[in-house]
Amino acid sequence: MELIESLLVQGAQMTLVLVAAPLMTGFVRKMKARLQRRRGPPLVQPYRDLLRLARKEAVVAENASWLFRAAPYLVFAATWVAAALVPTFATGLLFSWSADLIAIIALLGSARFFLALAGMDVGTAFGGIGASREMMIASLAEPAMLLIVFTLALAARSTQLSDVAALFASSEAGLHVSIGLALIGLIIVAIAENSRIPVDNPATHLELTMVHEAMVLEYSGRHLAMMELAAFLKLVLYVSLIGCIFAPWGLAAPGAEAGAYLAALALYVAKLAIAGTLLAVFETTIAKMRVFRLPDFVGGALMLGLLGTLLLFVSRSL
């Protein structure tokens, strides 16, 4: 019985992130449009886009290899598995022990690796520019993320995400300077990793500084749909990650009543909405940075992570 319930929760969670992902992006777009006094596309527009893309034939460049055609599924699979391991509305996921926070980051790293390779496969200048810049940003964002994980793991004494969430949900966590630094760092990393303003502009296509869009430029049809879905999933993943660590209220514990699950679900949707609104406001009030000012921005997260880890190292056993 217990096994069935946890299987159900795990399945529900995987479906939920998949279904909620386009809605989240649609919501952010709508909010941004409203802030700019435009009407904006309807909330369900991302679903329509995905559906239309999936139905069209895929146009593939003549010299594209098998890697180009396999990459969308690989990128999607790695991102989806990572997203399935982050608690959204319930903790104690059935398979949460199979990969901890470090593994989740590494799974996203796998997705990025294939995304960059796919960008270089056709051999166009745009693909190369996107891949090389993505790798530059990642070379700062990934260590920053790892150091943030170190901070959290040192506080929770485990790299297991469910343990970290459990610690922060209890009153034991207390207020640490390190945790605050980790939160700011994590937000910067989330912005950089999701190609949002000021790191990258998800809305433009022909901007010289584009990163993510440059890599997927050659994609069309179902391949593009998978790539887009993976990008949507990544946004939800990061919002859920920040939510379950820094706003862990109302997560349903394993073996809870059906009502508790429903309440947790409603609370999760509310968290997504708040995060989406904040993201839209942030993106509206800030301008896109030049590519070579990014190291200062993302490097800030790296320094915050290092400082947080260092403080915990020094304060332990004092």
């Binding site: 999936a54 139905r55 895929a58 146009v59 593939v60 460049a61 010299n63 599924y73 690989l74 999607f76 699979a77 199979s98 990969a99 470090i102 593994a103 590494a106 790293g109 990025r112 690796f113 390779l117 270089m120 496969d121 056709v122 051999g123 166009t124 200048a125 190369g128 891949a131 090389s132 790798m135 530059m136 990642a138 070379s139 964002a141 990934e142 260590p143 790892l146 150091l147 170190f150 793991a153 004494r157 485990s158 790299t159 297991q160 343990d163 296509h205 022909l206 430029l217 050659e218 179902r222 749909a225 998978m226 190291p295 790296l302 992570g305 290092l306 880890t309 260092l310 332990r316 056993s317």
Partner: protein, 669 residues
Amino acid sequence: MSAVASILLCVAALLALGIVGIATPRPLTATRLVYGGTGLVCLAAASMAFALLATGAPPAEITLPLALPWVGAGFRIDSLSAFFLLVVDLGGAASALYGIGYGAHEKEPRRVLPFFPTFLAGMNLVLLSADAFSFLLSWEFMSLASWALVMAHQEEENRRAGYVYIVMASLGTMALLMAFGILAGTDGGFSFEAMRHSVHAPQMVMLVVILALLGAGSKAGLVPLHAWLPLAHPAAPSHVSALMSGVMTKVAVYAFIRILFDLCGGLPWWAGLLVLLAGGISAALGVLQAVMQDEPKRLLAFSTIENIGIVFVGLGLALAFRSNGMVAAAALALTAALFHVLNHSLFKSLLFFGAGAVLTATGERAMDRLGGLIHRMPATALLFLVGCMAISALPPLNGFVSEWLTFQAILASPELPGWALKVGVPAVGGLLALAAALASAAFAKTFGIAFLGRPRSEPAGTAHEVDRFSLAAMAILGMLCLATGIFPGFVIDLLSPAVRQAAGGALPSQAGLPWLMIMPSAASGSSYDGALVFLFMTASGLFAAAFVHRFASRKLRRAPAWDCGFPQPSPVTQYSGSSFAQPIRRVFGGRVLGSSEEVALPRPGSMAPARFTLTLPDPVWDWIYLPVAGAVGYAARELNRLQFLTIRRYLSLVFGALILLLLVVALWS
């Protein structure tokens, strides 16, 4: 027959194969004979070492009446040497299999064949040695054999590489010689057994730590002793490069572990910190220089420095934990280091084989002359991709597991006392995190530029897949990378006798855990499950593909590339290796490596081409090697006068030296 005797027999067989390499008249027959024989012998030795490790057999030893008459040559196998024997002979067997195909392209096989098996014999002997004399003799034998292999191709570049290599190798041996001399003490107990039981003064232990770090570190390629490595490793034929990078550096790691963990006794508190910092700096600096390289083999050599750095971080942590009595944490850190030793030997050999295959197929060394090889060499491309993913520490492959274990060891270390460690460990953690991310950039670059895109030169456009032997060797290593990534628990259990011997404790057995997961310590509860992650990724990828193909479109049309409407037909417009690295060079290169770019634009109206110059200095080379080399050259020139003295002056010199030595002895006591 005991295990030592059988492996010594394998060594004798390898030496005999070296003679076969000289004596067989027809080059092709000789190639087949030597590589085939070496492969079989290494396979036999590797399986014996595996059996020893898996059964946890007690140490066995044998003394041969060779070498010094009153000591004899002692040989011994314990769990630690059995593990390293497994790594060496596995790498040797794969390399020999690869050599059957690759060696056929060799222009002068006689310059490679005799030395290949003797090189392997030397490495095996180092691992078997149980006294300082046979150890140093085998060590020097290994160095000289590998030096001969570096000099195999008669090119200017190789001569320079060989020169720098032999100088550094001699320096390293000298440091080890002095370390063993100190350990042997005044009584001259050259056997390891005697060293283990004698008591050493703290100042002497201090010297030994530094000398071992110099001697083993220079062979392994620790910064700043690494400068020979990116010259020598790529200069050798590719299957030898694989041996040097993948295997010989591990023999150096073995020497380091043997001296510091086994022979030395109580270590000063800063030993761990020193090793830790050397490892962290090597990891970050090595990979940063790797990203900038434009030749796949050079890039791989720099990445070896990075990986050796990761291993030494694990070793440094283990030393720090051990000297503070934290046995479980020391076992975790040492397991991480040894796991990475195994992993690196697998994927680095695989990558060097791949680079060699590209070299055979195209004849091009520079990345910027390659491109599009995934179409013409599909199998090599797939296997090289596996190697790239493994070395970039991407799950579910093996590189991730050892990196994960290293991170877990770092997270266990806030309990370490002392401010230096409290600040040093997180800093090294940051360097490791940086190295991990930069490694994936370096290998995305290698694979993306060499195998993807459009061919940048004629030979790259007409390349053909390499022979079956080379592919088989790569496939076996690729499979092992996947297997050790998916079933890490078995490897950890296999390592545990070696870890127990060196660290005094081992990780709990992983075999009993459900679902093939690994959990290094029950207290922290951190766990990882390579098999499930692999299963989930495959299942969700296949599910997504099947779903889309079933319910949405499955139509596909080939068309010219889109490239925002302005596709450029010339392949030169693609990103090249150095343009791929440009953003990273701009972020890190200027500050850390002192790289600079210069763009010279012609005046308006002028038809002259614009010029872009990139200078990429190696700070270690400029700041350490050149001054030292200059000083040595100066001293040699000055001392040269001594060669032309009269006999009277020589006699007075001898007299003066005698007086000086007597004075030293008088003052010492």
